[in-house]
Each structure stands twice: as structure tokens, then as C-alpha cells.
Amino acid sequence: MSRAAAVIGVGQTHHRSRRTDVSIPGLVREAALRALEDAGLGFADIDAVVLGKAPDLFEGVAMPDLFLADALGARGKPLLRVHTAGSVGGSTAIAAAQHVRSGAFGRVLALAWEKQSESNATWALTVGQPFSASLVVGAGGYFAPFIRAYIERSKAPEHVGWEVAAKDRRNALLNPYAHLRMPGITPEAVAASSMLWEPLRYLETCPSSDGACAIVLASEEAARAAPGPPAWIRGAAVRSEPIAFAGRDAVDPRAGRDCAADVYAQAGVDDPRRGIDAAEVYVPFSWYEPMWLENLGFAGPGQGWRLTDGGATALDGDTPWNPSGGVLSTNPVGASGMIRFAEAAQQVRGRAGGHQVEGARTALGHAYGAGSQFFAMWIVGSERP
């Protein structure tokens, strides 16, 4: 492992369906300024900026890094844009962390965003190509067959998906930045919502959100000087794989397994269910909680749904997943991964507020993107590694 790096500042916007009160630069600055304030810094203290977002088609802004350089105080500084579809928020945080771990930069601002209200995500993810037929409508249309395959394979009862959807929305009520607020949400209400992409119902899918998230990463020296507690990076890993190849398991992708094994080895985590106190995992559709519980090694093959069903992943369970409400409650796509990473950091900093997992010392941030092709994960801790 290279030099130590830590999160010393976290900021996010209040996420909504339509943040029509702000422009794109206004949106990203809202998150950036909160993160800088948390770190006790100004733009002048930042050595480099790393920016991430999902497909440019969402807002029709090509090269958003050039568009936003001034807004993020990047004039005269290194500025890098990252794009790994839905996992981009995570890979952006990791790219920024590696800037610091390289020793070349002391303080790096990582920022990820999406302003979905500027167009329509289903349109942006379903743009047809010549010489082919358009057979999949939106992300849900793509993932639904693999969710069905998981259910067939694990023999999970259908109410597990409803439980995840209700649990994450209940957690969101404790998070002032969360988009969806559904007091009194129950699995029954989820089950009663309309069917979109069988077996996925409306309330089992993530919302479309406008929002941004920012993280300030710092060297050990800079972290010692920070006003708040740092979240130390204990491990960081990314993996990718093609969308289709012979032998691929799209339900339990090898890239995810390899990425988890790498990040656990770096952090010295043998058993993630015991070694990780809080997990913020990219679950845009309810069933991805049990699926990723298995992919990430929290449960054996076919057993993930039993953890969910038994309440293990609830805020008061033995392995809380998505105490912030997760992607099911807040989904500014490009920022969704970084929110996972930021919320993991807030947990070990003791700064998660109403959704704090008591005594959390080690937390996992996870993101995935495209057709379960891109994975990014980090483990942060309250103790320096």
C-alpha cells in the first residue's frame, strides 16, 4: 500500500426530483462548498479536482469537466473527469484517493453529480442504434431478467424485494438529504404498487434525482490538520468486465467478487459481515440487496435473501446496509456511487446524524454501473491503517 489518505470533508445537496432552483454549476457548488466547509478549507487549498458523472446524454453536456472547471475552482489545477456509468461516483472518489496516495497531491476535491430533470433517464439509457431493434426500456428493463434469474436460482420468496424497498425508504426518513420521503412505507404498500418490469414493481425501483456529492481527500499531514475526524482509506479497488462473454454470470458477476476480495484483502477484512460495521451498497432495484449480499460475500450463494428477510441488514440489524436510505431513496445517477462512499465515511467519522450506526469503526462504500460491469469499492475506518 502507498501513502495514507483520508476523507476530511463531505458535502451533498438536498436531492430532489427537480432542482430547478439551481443551474448545473450551482448544483455542484452546493455540494463542493459544503464539503470544503466541513474540511475547513477553501478552493485555494485544493491541489487537484476529480469530477465524475454518468452518461453525458442525461444533460446533453459534453465534457462536463471543461464546463465546470471554473465553478469548482479548478482553474490552473489538474482536473480529471472519470466515467464508469453508475459506478462513476465510486471510481471518482477512488481516483481522487489515488491522487493523494501517490504523494503528488495533499488535498483533492472529488465531486460527482447528475441533474436528471434536464432530460429523461429512460430516454437517455434507451437511445436506439441503427441496425438493431430497441428491446430494452430503461435500466429496469435491462436488470429485470437477471433479478428473475436470481429469484429462480435462490428460490427467494417475492416479499424479500418488498422488504428491501420499505427498509431503505424508512432509513431515508432519518437522512435530511434523502430525496424520497415516504412516512409509513410498508412492504404491503410496495407490493401494491404497479408492475413495471416484471418482477420489478414501481416502489422497488430507484427514483430519478437531481443532486451532487463532494468529498475532500487529504494526505496524512493534511488530515491531521483537519478540524473534524478523518475517515481513513483502508482499501480501494475497481474492476470491470464486458457486458456479454461466454461463461459470464450476470447475476453474480466475477468483477464484483474480485473487486470485493481485493478491497477486503487491503483492509484486512476476513468476514465482511463481522468486519464491516456499516455498508452503503449500490442497490437501485430492491433485489440487488440480496444479490450483492452474495456477490460481496456477506452471505453464501442463494442465502443473501435470508439476511434481508431476517432483518440483518436493517439499521438495527447485525450488518446494516444503506442506513442513509441508499439509491432506492436518492438517485442522482452520477453522484449515487459517491454518496455511498461519502456515507460510509460519515459513519466512521461519527457524522451520519440520525442514521448513524452506533460505534461504526469500519464501513464499506460500493458502487456498480452499466450492465453490472463496473465495480468500485472502498473501505474506510476511524483508525489510521
Binding site: 438493431s132 430503461g138 429462480e152 418490469w197 464486458p242 462473454f245
Partner: protein
């Protein structure tokens, strides 16, 4: 004087229109307060008047309507923006109204004022019989003044109010020329003849649609192979979300593992009640009629249950 048209029924009641109007219109003295307001308005400025209590009355009156006390001679500028307090949608304007299309009457509290102005609010030419969604208390608006040379010192020097600019429309587009790669061209050409081709990788794995490189390791494939139009449904989804580019809902999209292939083909599944679709079902390709086939798109219309397959394979255990 009203006159009867020739040939009118002599027994009908005598009815006629009658207008009383002072020639040229009445002369209204404005007094110093209203006069100041209208003079400033003619010059393009919105001024209120400060009451003895400190409140700014806009539009100005010569006395504080709360207690009748005289106002001061301070005429502070207000606006130009204001906030809608209340509104009333007019779906069907009357002849005397300022618009011949739907609009709103709104009371607007201008910035810096303590009382509201009632005026017409233009929500745009696309507004219909129902109030537009954006019309709400709290909406920020500004006046549209008539051109300076046309203003006369009248409340109608404000032609109307209209919402502040909060969004612009960006109609940028990208135009591409797409060239199908060699493998896709061979695949689509073979389909016009009712044949399905795939390609065999060095590992032995068979890809369909064919590829020129194995996505698993990037090595060139060894060549094309022909595949039968039959296969097994791996998994599927029933889509209930309407989309103009997709078939009518509900429709079934499935992953079909053609016999002899090592990857799934994404396809529509038809000819079966969506409720009865099951993983493991045997399927066969249904082709477009030859005259509808084109190498610019797949010629497989969809997959249907393979009636020749052994009975029961399509049912759940």
C-alpha cells in the same frame, strides 16, 4: 337613436342597444400621489409611496388604507420582480380582457412593497383551459412594459406580468454516420436469407451475434458458424412500461440461448401468454416474411414456443 330594421315584426317588444359615453372620455385629475406613480410608470419605473407607518404602498394611494393617515412624500422604487400571492385562471377571456387566450389575474407583491398589485399574468401562448402547473402562489414574476414611445401614464403601460426566466431550452443535437462492423453486416445479411450465423472464438465458445474479437480476451475469432433457429429461454422480463420505440405493452423480452451457442441472444418472446412464459422454455425464431426483410435490421421478428419440442418443457415444476 336605435332604429328598427326594415321588415321587423311590428308586434314584438321594441328592443335596441344604447350607449352612454362622454365624448372624449372623462378627465381624471390624478392628484400628486397617483400622478407621480403614473409619471414614473410612463418612464418605466415602478414606485410606491411610503406610509407614515413605514409601509410601502404599491400601487400608491393618497392615504394609508389601514388608518386613513396621510402618506409621506417618499416614493421608493419597488420591483421590478414580485411574488404571486393569489391567482385566478381565466380559461375563456371576455372581449375586454387584455388577452384573447387563457391567462391569469394575479395579485403580486413587488419586492420592496407591502401591498399587492392586481394585474394580468401571461403564462405563455401554450397555456390551455387548465391552469399551468407552474402557476402557484410564490411564483416570481416581472412586468412586461409597453415600449417607451407607447406608454401614456396608465396602468396598462404594464402590458402584463410574466414569470421570471428559470429554464432555457437547449435543442443541441449530434448527427452521426454509423457504419456497421463486418461481423454485424454478415449477421444481418445472413438473416435476410433466414440463416443465423455466429462466430467461434479460439476458446471454442460460440458467439451470436458473431464477433470478430472474443470479448473475454480480445483474440480474433476463428470463423463463422451457422446456428439453428431454436434455443432455450434462459431468463426474461415482462415489460409494462410503454415506450414509443418498443412494442405495445405488455411485451416479453427474453435471453435465448440458441442451440450450440455460448451466449444469450436478447429477443422478444411472443405467441404465448406472458403469464405462461417460463425459464427453460424451448423457443424457435419466427422470421419476417422475405419481402419485409432488410439487411438494415434483424429479420427475426421474435421467438415463439417451439411446438416441436417435447411436451411440458415450458411448464414450471
Amino acid at each position: 337613436m336605435p332604429t328598427e330594421p326594415p321588415g321587423a315584426d311590428p308586434l314584438a317588444p321594441l328592443v335596441g342597444a344604447h350607449t352612454v359615453a362622454f365624448p372624449g372620455g372623462y378627465t381624471r385629475s390624478t392628484g400628486p400621489v397617483i400622478g407621480r406613480f403614473l409619471t414614473e410608470l410612463r418612464d418605466g419605473r415602478l414606485v410606491g409611496v411610503r406610509a407614515a407607518s413605514g409601509r410601502v404602498l404599491f400601487p400608491p394611494t393618497e392615504y394609508d388604507p389601514r388608518d386613513g393617515s396621510p402618506v409621506t412624500d417618499d416614493f421608493p422604487e419597488v420591483g421590478p420582480a414580485g411574488t404571486v400571492q393569489a391567482w385566478c385562471w381565466v380559461p375563456d377571456p371576455r372581449p375586454a380582457h387584455p388577452f384573447d387566450r387563457p391567462f391569469a389575474w394575479a395579485t403580486v407583491l413587488f419586492d420592496g412593497a407591502d401591498t399587492a398589485l392586481l394585474h394580468a399574468l401571461d403564462m405563455g401562448p401554450d397555456a390551455g383551459a387548465d391552469p399551468p402547473r407552474g402557476l402557484r402562489a410564490g411564483l416570481r414574476v416581472r412586468p412586461r412594459l409597453r415600449p417607451a414611445g407607447e406608454r401614456t401614464g396608465s396602468i396598462t403601460d404594464i402590458a402584463c406580468l410574466r414569470p421570471e426566466v428559470t429554464a432555457i431550452r437547449d435543442t443541441g443535437r449530434l448527427d452521426y454516420t454509423i457504419r456497421a462492423d463486418a461481423a454485424l453486416t454478415r449477421y444481418l445479411e445472413a438473416q435476410t436469407e433466414g440463416r443465423i450465423i455466429g462466430s467461434r472464438a479460439r476458446s471454442g465458445a460460440v458467439y451470436v451475434p458473431p464477433r470478430d474479437l472474443d470479448p473475454a480476451d480480445g483474440t480474433p475469432v476463428t470463423g463463422d458458424v451457422e446456428l439453428p433457429p431454436t434455443g432455450t429461454l434462459t431468463t426474461f422480463s415482462v415489460n409494462h412500461v410503454p415506450d414509443p420505440r418498443a412494442p405495445q405493452v405488455p411485451f416479453v423480452t427474453g435471453y435465448v440461448r440458441l442451440d450450440g451457442a455460448d451466449v444469450d441472444l436478447l429477443a422478444l418472446v411472443s405467441g404465448v401468454d406472458p403469464e405462461r412464459v417460463r425459464p427453460g422454455m424451448r423457443l424457435r425464431a419466427e422470421w419476417l416474411p422475405p419481402e419485409e426483410r432488410s439487411r438494415t435490421r434483424p429479420s427475426i421478428r421474435w421467438f415463439v414456443p417451439d411446438e416441436g419440442a417435447e411436451a411440458g418443457t415450458g411448464e414450471a415444476p
